[in-house]
């Protein structure tokens, strides 16, 4: 796999694909942090509120990491931050590239209570850990290095989900555990769809083969799904939940990021 470092001349189409994936990650990290900030209203106790606030700061930090690299690639990153900060509920898709699931109108439908907040970090975050983890080995080395940093921090978010879920059960007892168990599938659908459609077959992503060939995407959706399910099974088991069976992926909560 050919690799590139900071300052190297990048082939035009490679650069276009790289910028597309990096802006997608940066804008979505920041928008995701904004959605987490909106969930603050559900925090039932002080420590929950502080731990969620810490998560907001961390996710925004991931956005800054990637934007800082994009600046080196000639992207006007300040306008992206300004758009998200000033128009958080409906940012202009011509300016920013945000995952569908992190758009307010989609996100809000998933959250009705603090238990949902805890479950999101337990059930969806493992997908982010698996998905973003592949970028640690990608062909653009500055992006790979920064994703080592991000991956380590995403593991912390996973710990938050487990902690928050256990606390819900500690305070609410078996009734709460059952209530939460019923809500796992809606988040699992999002988690299963996080890394895109299968790499083979009619519904395959048109762009996957190109990203894979360029070394920008290292793993197939099938490999990422296996990684996700392993992480998810471990975390759900730790809390005392069962892994729901027969859940179908929801691919609409992400976006196809093709480059013409």
């Amino acid at each position: 796999m050919k690799t590139y470092d900071k300052g190297d001349k990048l082939p035009d189409h490679y650069k276009e694909c790289l910028i597309n994936l990096m802006t997608f990650q940066a804008d979505s990290e920041y928008a995701g942090a904004q959605r987490v900030a909106e969930n603050h209203r559900f925090a039932p106790r002080p420590e929950e509120a502080y731990r969620l606030s810490k998560k907001v700061m961390e996710e925004m930090g991931h956005g800054y990491y990637i934007w800082n690299l994009l600046r080196d690639l000639g992207v006007d990153v300040d306008s992206r931050l300004h758009e998200l900060a000033s128009n958080s509920e409906n940012p202009d898709p011509k300016i920013v590239n945000v995952i569908n699931g992190f758009r307010k109108e989609n996100w809000s439908a998933f959250f009705e209570c603090w238990e949902d907040v805890a479950l999101f970090s337990t059930v969806v975050t493992p997908a982010a850990v698996a998905f973003l983890g592949q970028y640690r080995e990608c062909s653009y080395l500055p992006w790979a290095r920064v994703n080592v940093r991000i991956h380590k921090e995403e593991h912390g978010h996973l710990a938050f989900g487990v902690w928050a879920s256990k606390r819900c059960i500690e305070f609410g007892g078996e009734k709460t555990r059952e209530f939460m168990q019923q809500r796992i599938p809606k988040f699992m659908q999002m988690g299963l769809g996080f890394y895109g459609r299968p790499s083979k077959g009619d519904g395959k992503s048109e762009m996957f083969d190109i990203y894979h060939e360029y070394g920008l995407k290292i793993k197939t959706p099938e490999e990422l799904q296996a990684e996700y399910l392993e992480l998810l099974t471990d975390r759900l088991g730790d809390i005392g939940f069962e892994v729901p069976q027969g859940v179908e992926a929801d691919y609409d909560m992400r976006i196809g990021y093709g480059v013409e």
Binding site: R45, P46, E47, Y50, R51, S53, K54, M57, E58, M60, G61, Y64, Y65, W67, N68, R71, V77, D78, L81, H82, A85, G156, E170, F171, G172, G173
Partner: protein, 131 residues
């Protein structure tokens, strides 16, 4: 308000610490009773729903509660520092400001973790378990 130790050796340490910038706190003490009223809900569990008011606690339990609340106050200061860093990033993202923000939020995250550890300790102390 600072209450001096009756031990002269401890008080002698003050002058040494002052060489490195120690200053006696001369502001009003925190409203521990009021702050505790906002935080005590964190200590009501399925096992025990009754949490004492600050003024009803024994001195050792009050001390553990003050440590917990001081940890929260420290977290609040780091939270404010994060917000200040974000304001500067808004003026223009660059490596220097990005790394500055990362340091600030790392400190905030540590302080929130310390707040959580203090809660766990206080939870034990409220049950009469000190070590």
């Amino acid at each position: 308000m600072v209450i001096p130790s009756p031990d002269k050796l401890v008080e002698g340490n003050v002058s040494v610490l002052a060489k490195f910038g120690y200053q006696a706190f001369d502001g009003a003490d925190e409203d521990w009773t009021g702050m505790w009223a906002l935080l005590k809900g964190d200590f009501a569990t399925a096992e025990s729903s009754v949490v004492p008011d600050f003024d009803a606690m024994t001195p050792s339990k009050q001390e553990a509660a003050k440590i917990y609340m001081r940890r929260r106050l420290i977290a609040d200061r780091f939270f404010e520092e994060c917000r200040a860093c974000q304001a500067d990033l808004y003026k223009g993202i660059d490596t220097e400001q990005m790394e500055r923000y990362t340091l600030a939020r790392d400190a905030y995250e540590d302080s929130v973790n310390h707040f959580g550890e203090a809660r766990e300790k206080l939870e034990q102390v409220l049950k009469g378990i000190f070590w």
